[in-house]
Amino acid sequence: MSAPSIPVIQQTAGRGAARAAANRRGVSKGAGSDRRPGWVTYAVLTLVILISAYPLYFAFLLATSDAVTIAQNPIPSLIPDSNLFANFERVLSSDIKFWKSLGNSVIVSSVTAISVVIFSTLAGYSFAKLRFKGRGPLLVFVVATTAVPTQLGIVPLFIVMSKLGWTGNLIAVIVPGMVTAFGVFWMTQYLEGALPYELIEAARVDGASMIRTFWHIALPAARPAAAMLGLFTFVGAWTNFFWPFIVLGSANPTLPVAVQLLQGNYFNDMSLVMAGVTLSVIPLVIVFVFAGRQLVAGIMQGAVKG
């Protein structure tokens, strides 16, 4: 786990920080910072967390309320009202196709995440551990493309999708997300540090083919980084709005595309809108409770906005 963070620090924080991190690895933690901080620190952090959680609680409070109460009280009382499930039911029976969009989001996000992980691990293994002509320039190309705003290719992408008859179909959202340059870069960085050449050579000496070596040696070694990459890709695909909004439309929506319809259709009933928002936020909050630790570790090891 700790091995890849030096190259990753170099990527995020530059060579100096990487060198510093490498130095620090050998040194025990300094004395100055081992002192436990005082209550002021905890008070500040509590305030920060309250601010970052309040908007979600605000949505929840409005979801438990009703339109009249909300109109009369711009500042909702901190104690929830009792209409939560009634409002949930109204969302589920509204015309936004909530269940369908939830299923669509699950499919799109899972398939995208699995595909990104497989292709990135495969390419990352090749870049990190195999020798072939053109390796250097090709890797530079991958790094350069992480900075290309591919979202700006939507017009031709839409033209292609309509020619293929894929508009309105989930495949139109899945296919463009199946590979990311960042994923390849991330797995390359990780495998460079985490997979010793000796293991690969041992497998090759034992007569394993290249793909067997990948499957039995590289893939298990890549698992921690692959899990993080999968998690980030999943969150990214789940929260994505622009492209699904354009290519899917409201007939076969993902969750964000469906939820934003509430605002247009029921803007005078905020309890309904916020009930939809609350429902849409719950799945990822559950993921966060169980995997938030990995998200934190992933970012601190150098994840980039997805």
Binding site: G14, V27, G32, M210, V235, T239, G264, L295
Partner: protein, 334 residues
């Protein structure tokens, strides 16, 4: 295996002898082929898919932008740079460009300052470290759509909570959905809400990579905590700050979700006071005009702008990187 006719009998050992190495040769050749081709095979899915869904559309945008091209009618005649000329003459385009930059600055600059501050607080020997780190990251898993709907209500002009609080302390209600700057502040706050925690963790990682000996040396020189922060931590964070700014430039200039959902019409306000370039692109391509040629021209212009800003960022980065070393040296000498 071998037939039993007599003339072949004496040939048999010879034959199996040269057959045996031939089989190994084939296996070796297969193995060598495996070693040679496999690396390319493994990276090919990425390159092929990226070429189709990433690179080709981006380049083809230039082709589409030089044609009349209707959403449903399809490709029309070649018009050269007419679409670009049209877009650059539209007041809405310039307004959208202004709004995009204003929202971008209002979201990225405070974001970096706040994130560094929170990271500095987190960079201590805390109890329940993971809890605090997860706490600041929570907004990251909330989709921009959800954030926009929630903040749209918080910032409502008449019945919004923020105006109610401001009214409570005697401040006139702010017209978040009518004023240009106020709407930009509201939209930027959504971006900040979602990304501050994320960037905090990036800065925290960089801070923890600062060698503790540097702090010890600073303490020996009599530096207080604040002085340590500004003279040791911040200079060493510079590459990370630049990294965060560059990545947020690429995303920030394409902003769409938050301003699109800031009100229920999605037009960017009555006077288009918060319409961004990507929203304008959408409106031209899929809204009233259904002109893909012009939409492609907007996309290409935005692409060039992002590229130019990327290059400016890059050159500033290099200058700072080469400046900082001698400057700090001079300071130390004095």
């Amino acid at each position: 295996m071998v037939t039993s006719t007599t003339p072949k009998l004496d040939r048999r050992p010879k034959r199996s002898a040269d057959r045996e190495p031939r089989r190994i040769g084939f296996g070796q050749r297969l193995g060598r082929w495996d070693v040679k081709v496999s690396p390319y095979l493994y990276i090919s899915p990425f390159f092929i898919l990226f070429a189709i869904v990433g690179l080709f559309p981006l380049l083809y945008t230039a082709y589409v932008s030089m044609h009349k091209w209707h959403l449903i009618g399809g490709q029309g005649e070649f018009v050269g740079l007419e679409n670009f000329a049209y877009v650059l003459q539209q007041p809405f385009f310039w307004k959208a460009l202004r709004n995009t930059f204003s929202i971008f600055l209002l979201s990225s600059v405070p974001q970096v300052f706040i994130a560094i501050t929170i990271a500095a607080v987190l960079d201590a020997n805390l109890r329940a470290k993971t809890f605090w780190r997860m706490g600041v990251l929570l907004p990251f898993v909330v989709a921009p759509v959800a954030v926009s709907l929630i903040f749209g209500k918080l910032f409502a002009d008449d019945s919004g909570m923020i105006n109610a609080i401001l009214g409570g302390v005697g401040i006139e209600p702010i017209r978040w959905h009518a004023d240009v700057l106020a709407s930009h502040v509201a939209i930027s706050s959504m971006v900040n809400f979602r990304w501050i925690g994320y960037n905090t963790l990036i800065f925290l990682a960089a801070m923890q990579a600062v060698p503790r000996e540097l702090y010890e040396a600073a303490i020996l020189d009599g530096a207080g905590r604040l002085r340590q922060f500004f003279s040791v931590t911040v200079p060493l964070l510079r590459p990370t700050i630049i990294f965060v700014v560059v990545t947020s430039t690429i995303g920030g200039l394409q902003i769409f979700d938050e301003p699109r959902l800031f009100d229920q019409t999605g037009q960017g306000g009555g006077d288009r006071q918060w319409m961004t370039v990507t929203m304008y692109l959408y409106e031209v391509g899929w809204g009233s005009q259904k002109s893909f040629g012009r939409a492609a021209a907007i996309a290409w212009i935005l692409f060039v702008i992002i590229l130019i800003i990327g290059l400016i960022n890059f050159s500033i980065t290099r200058r700072i990187a080469s400046d900082s070393a001698p400057k700090s040296g001079r300071k130390q000498k004095r």
